[in-house]
Structures are given as C-alpha cells and as structure tokens.
Symmetry: C2
Subunit: 212 residues, 2 copies
Amino acid sequence: MAIERRPLRDQIREELMLRLERGDFAAGTDINEAVLAGELGVSRTPLREALITLAGEGVLESNQGRGFRFAPVSRKEFRELCAIVAALEALALESSDPAHLREIAPELLRLAREFSVDVAARQEIERHDDEWHDLLLSGCGNERLLDLITSVKAGMRRYTHLMSGDGTPTARAAEEHRRIAERLLEDDLQGAVSALRDNWVNGMERMIPRIP
Amino acid sequence: MAIERRPLRDQIREELMLRLERGDFAAGTDINEAVLAGELGVSRTPLREALITLAGEGVLESNQGRGFRFAPVSRKEFRELCAIVAALEALALESSDPAHLREIAPELLRLAREFSVDVAARQEIERHDDEWHDLLLSGCGNERLLDLITSVKAGMRRYTHLMSGDGTPTARAAEEHRRIAERLLEDDLQGAVSALRDNWVNGMERMIPRIP
DNA sequence: ATGTAATATTTTGTATGCAGAATTCATAGT
DNA sequence: ACTATGAATTCTGCATACAAAATATTACAT
C-alpha cells in the first residue's frame, strides 16, 4: 500500500480546485482562512501555502491586509486565457515527436468518435476533454511547457462550471477533435496545429455568451 | 509619500531573485530556511511563502521532507524556456494594438541603436534588454499573457549570470532589435513577429554553449 | 577497516500565538 | 434620515513553538 506522503499544501490545493470546479465558491468571494482551515481540518499555515500557489496560477487574487479571494470571472480574461492555451498547445503539438503522433493518432480518432455518441454528465465531458488533450500532447518533450499548460488550465477551471446542460458543445468539440486526429493520420502536422487552434477559438466562442 | 506596504513574501521574493541574478546561489544547492531567514531578518513563515511562489515559477524545486533547492540548470530546460517565451512574446506582439505599435516603433529603433554602441556592464545589458522587450509588448492588452511572460522569464534569470564578458552577443542582439523595430515601422506585423522569434532563437544559440 | 544498527542532531512541515490592519457596529451630530 | 466619528470585533500577516522526518554521529560486530 502506497500511503499518502506529500505536503498538506498540495492536497489542500487539489481539494480546493475540486470544490471550485463543483462551483462551490462563487467567483469574487473573499476567503476566510480560519473557517476554511476548520472545514478542511488543517491549520492555517498549509492552507495559506496552498492559497499562495493558487494565487500564482491566477485562480485567486490577494490584496494586502484583505487576504485572498476567488478571482472574478470576465469575458475578457477568458478570451485571454484561451488565446494563451491555444498558443501553448499549438507549440507543444508542433514540437512533438512525429513518430509518436503517428502512433497515437488512431487512438485519438477512436476517442473523438466515442466522445460524440457519449452523452455523459458535464463533469465527465470535461474530464474526457482534458484526457484527450493530454494524450494529444503526450509526445511533447518540453516538460516545462506541459507544466505551464497545466497551470494555465487550472486558472480556466473557474469557468468550466458555468457550462451546464446543452449538448451541442459536446458534439462540436468531438467534431473538432476528430478533425485534428485525421490531420495527424495524414501526417499533416501544420494542419493539425491549426485545427487545434480552431478548437480553442471555437470552444471559446461557445463559452463566451455564458459568462456575465 | 507612498510608504511601502506590501507583504514580506513579495519583498523576500524580490531579494532572492536579485541574489540569484548576482549568482550568489549555485544552482542545485539546498536552501536552509532558518539560516536564510536569519540573514534576511525575517521569520521562516514569509520566507517559505516566497519560496513556494518561486517554486511555482520553476526557479526552485521542492521535495517532501527535503525542503527547497535551486533548480539545477540544463541546456534542455533553457531550450524549453526559450521556446515558450518566444511563442508567448510572439502572441503578445501579434495581439498588440497596431496603432500603438506604430507609435512606439521610432523609440524602439532609437533604443536598439543606442544599445549597440553602449558597452555597459553585463547587468546593465540585461536590464536594457528587458526594458526593450517590455516596451515592445506595452501595447498588448492581454494582461494574463504579460504576467505569464514575466513569470516564465523569472525562471530564465537563473541562466543570465552564466553569460559574462564577451561583447558579441550585445551587438547581435542590438542588430536583431533594430530589425524588429524596422518591420514595425513598415507596418509589417508578421515580419516583426518572425524577427522576434529569430531574436529568441539566436539568443538561445548564443547562450547554449555556456551552459554545463 | 568496513558495514550496520542505534542514537543524537538538524531541518523541515504543521500548529498555535500575537500584533496590527481592515471591517463592522454603535453613537453622536447635523 | 444621513453622515461622521470612534470603539469593538474580525481577520490577516508574521513570529514562534512543536512534531515528525531526514541526516549525521557513534558504537559495535564482523
């Protein structure tokens, strides 16, 4: 049995991200450290450490004397984040090992098709989408880049719970994934890259109207 | 008089970055929190908070039970960082306000020329280069992107003190800056973007041999 | 001399305590 | 009724204290 042996701050960070995705915290709300620490059953010290890392990722804001609060969402910021992730994922895909891409292309296509028929819960969809992108970029040797993408995407999780119901996004995302996979099957890397960029742009457009 | 009122962790972070640039810490060395806190005249708590943010930026590594240490440098990582910053700055430049770019182009050109004749100290050169890039991207409205660039560049500061003496890099960098500015003067945004990418690629090639 | 087990020391990770800033609430004045 | 002022409270930011893990040291057996 591999017992859990890692800093509390990491576990706390994870738990907070989970709650954030569930929409437990309204954006723009102040965090009460003592209360939250009590809920989690830890002291304020590791909690604050987790909050500081989240602030570094842009999930939280911190003001002198006023503590931390969940950064408010805005269409402008969402657009900014999408542009950033699009560029980073495009770079990651471009610098991936072509042989590896050829290898995983069929799997990517299969998952994309499976995705389209699947009418799962919203959270399932998110997870599936994340995993698909992870697989897509699994051939990128640039570790720093992958870390950075993960970090920026963490900042985007604040927006995911705004998207509920409505099956059309799923269908369209699947369609786009399929297109990316097909380009890879044809050894058309640049085509795949621009299809990936389209995927992010379209995903953004789909989300924008739901943001206040 | 605007008195300084900001968290110790920020000031500590700044001080540590300064020391890092001066080459005070050898990469790969463990940090003793108690000793360092003593040197800085603060307690371990805000110091650890600063260390955690630096770890988030990739300047430090942290291992369970073993605390923090300066992340070792490597050619591979430097290449990775350059590729990331190149992509991010390219995106920032692309999404800048064209009118603003037209406006600052002459100033950018002037600074680039001034740069080439100036034979200042290494630290001065770095500062100048940073300011030039800041001005170049000053028309980008994507705040998250600018923050991210700053953060990634912080991780690159570990490499700057490896570059000493040797005037040729300066001359070539000035030349490249000049080229970028000229493209902007001609309203050739895409040309400027690719010149910017070249600037990073070339800068990388110049540095690589100096890294163990 | 070398390797190993037991112990002591150091150092990190977490909890608690405390001072001061920010906010809230009550009260007085217009 | 509304604003201003000031006390009371809450909460953060930082310091200190404690517990557990890691490292160094010693003693001992081979």
